[in-house]
């Protein structure tokens, strides 16, 4: 009983307090951050009683507009699939977050709660089994629109996403080998170890630097954003969501931003210590130069959850910066990058990791 209630509360927390606000925040950041780095101000005209809240009100206005806008579906479109696709896209990204640990075990009123919705033993596989569902959404939506441009976008999307799915998986295999588990929570816990008398934390980024260099572009490609925004490519083909309007377009867009949150969460979990704070142990800080602060359990848990969120926000910011800096790939270059460079390197990474593990044993 307690487990069920805890799960429901956790799901509500993740969706209502984490995913949707983060996606909303990213959309806002997309506008303001790109504006600031481009020497402009960004959307800020909408106001309520003269309060503009740095453009947040504009975001609200846009959300309202998106809800009340006419829901147009083109003639000759396959209506059922056309309406179904955006919901599938949203479903696919929301369900992926279930296995991401956003905090340590929390002992509350005698019960121990894992700050993770579902601690599956095969969390890693679950994620890579369900995330590609989004490809179906894009392909179906693009095809059902009955538009040449969106069909081209759908074809591009399928080719790109399936290719990079392989690299995403393979680039993490090395990490899985190092930690010896596919359980995400266990991976995070193991990143709380230290090297060199506790000076350097055993984060994935130090264990698998090549893995990070491969996972980052591949994961970026999965989010379909510049420089990998070929399915959309608004100056070439206008994109797979060309015929969508109103809320359904909003769902596609929202799912894209949630994908960014998930990418940030994965980067954090696998390479940057998840919810770990350097030198924070379950009873407080123990710095390698000898300082100690003891903290109560609840404070430690809160700090660690905050650490996870901070890392998430940082990666959101960083992904935006990269997105607004680079030009776009071409389709054949993108596929070539995947199969000729990233994939062999990922295999090489697995081999090297295997050899190193063997030698160290």
């Amino acid at each position: 009983m307690f487990e069920t209630i805890a799960s429901i509360i956790k799901i509500c927390f993740i969706v209502v307090c984490l995913l949707l606000p983060m996606a909303f925040l990213l959309m806002w950041a997309e506008r303001k951050e790109s504006a600031i780095m481009q020497d402009r101000i960004g959307a800020n005209r909408a106001s309520v009683f003269g309060i503009r809240a740095w453009g947040l009100i504009s975001m609200m206005a846009d959300a309202i507009k998106m809800f009340v806008k006419e829901d147009f579906s083109p003639p000759f479109a396959n209506k059922r699939l056309f309406h179904f696709a955006p919901f599938l896209a949203m479903f696919a990204v929301l369900i992926t977050f279930a296995v991401i640990p956003f905090g340590p075990e929390w002992t509350l009123l005698g019960h121990t709660v894992k700050l993770q919705i579902a601690d599956l033993g095969v969390g890693f596989l679950y994620m890579f089994a369900l995330a590609p569902l989004g490809i179906y959404a894009i392909a179906l939506g693009a095809w059902a629109s009955n538009n040449k441009y969106s069909a081209l976008g759908g074809i591009r999307a399928v080719g790109q996403l399936i290719s990079y799915e392989v690299v995403v998986g393979l680039s993490l295999i090395g990490l899985v080998m190092v930690f010896g588990t596919v359980q995400l929570d266990s991976i995070v816990v193991q990143q709380g170890d230290y090297w060199f008398n506790g000076w350097i934390p055993k984060w994935g980024v130090f264990l698998q630097p090549l893995g990070l260099l491969l996972f980052f572009p591949a994961g970026f490609a999965e989010t379909k954003r510049v420089p990998f925004d070929l399915p959309e490519g608004e100056s070439e083909i206008i994109g797979f969501n060309l015929e969508y309007s109103g809320l359904k377009f909003g769902l596609f867009m929202m799912s894209e931003f949630i994908e960014m949150v998930i990418l940030g969460a994965l980067l954090t979990t696998f390479f940057f210590g998840g919810w770990q704070v350097p030198w924070l142990f379950s009873d407080g800080f123990h710095f390698p130069w000898g300082w100690d602060f003891s903290l109560p359990h609840t404070a430690v848990v809160l700090l660690q959850v905050m650490s996870f969120l901070t890392k998430l926000v940082f990666f959101g910011w960083f992904l935006q910066i990269v997105r607004w800096t680079l030009p776009r790939f071409r389709y054949d270059q993108l596929i070539r990058l995947c199969w000729l460079y990233l994939l062999p390197l990922a295999v090489l990474n697995v081999v090297i990791t295997g050899i190193v593990i063997l030698v160290l044993q």
Partner: protein, 215 residues
């Protein structure tokens, strides 16, 4: 003297892999971001600094338009309050768009000028703001320095400026039927008020400041 110089772009190892170029680009945009964010922060803390963006937020902030800007026309008055225009028709002739329409008449007052315009209209819908009428005017009567850039209207008729609105440049009123072909004699009593107003408010050669005061 100019000469031809062969440049050829050679790519080295840093261009052969993606990461260095991307890293440099990202570093540049992060620098922009941090610098601009710093100035935005200064502004938020009410500390005087340069603005963090080059944007001008138009209806709230307005640029001071340069004096040389060719923009909505006006007709000047003499020192003694009479129209400078003598209806010599040079502006009408010089206008490449035929947007000026003048009907001359004998001046009713005891004035040195022999003629004055009975109707003087400029059709802003046709005008291309080339400034040839200003250049052509031998009496320094027509000027394009009001600094009024907002000339939109919801009817073509409203875009025809008559003598009254040329003497008293203000925003174009978007409602009501067109004021067309009004005789100067009907206008005269009103014109006197306009003259008085102009002499009080506008020193010679000044730019009308556009802003909330003009609304």
């Amino acid at each position: 003297m100019a000469q031809y110089v062969n440049h050829d772009q050679k790519f080295g190892a840093t261009e052969a892999i993606y990461y260095p170029g991307i890293a440099k680009g990202v570093a540049l945009t992060i620098r922009h971001f941090v610098v601009n964010m710093w100035f935005h922060l200064m502004k938020a803390l009410r500390i005087k600094a340069r603005p963090g963006a080059i944007t001008i937020q138009y209806p709230d902030q307005r640029r001071v338009l340069p004096a040389a800007l060719r923009i909505r026309h006006r007709i000047k008055l003499n020192e003694d309050g009479r129209l400078r225009c003598t209806a010599c028709m040079l502006c009408e002739t010089a206008c490449p768009d035929n947007c000026i329409y003048i009907v001359p008449m004998e001046s009713p007052e005891e004035v040195p000028e022999e003629k004055m315009p009975a109707i003087f209209e400029i059709d802003l819908a046709r005008c291309c703001f080339c400034g040839m009428c200003v250049e052509a005017c031998p009496m320094d009567a027509i000027h394009m320095d009001t600094g009024i850039a907002e000339m939109a209207s919801d009817s073509r008729e409203n875009l025809v400026l008559d003598l009254e609105s040329l003497l008293k440049p203000g925003p174009i009123v978007c409602t009501g039927p067109a004021f067309r072909g009004k005789e100067i004699l009907e206008l005269l009593p009103h014109l006197k008020d306009v003259r008085a107003m102009e002499h009080q408010t506008q020193p010679e050669g000044s730019i009308y400041r556009v802003g909330k005061t003009n609304r």
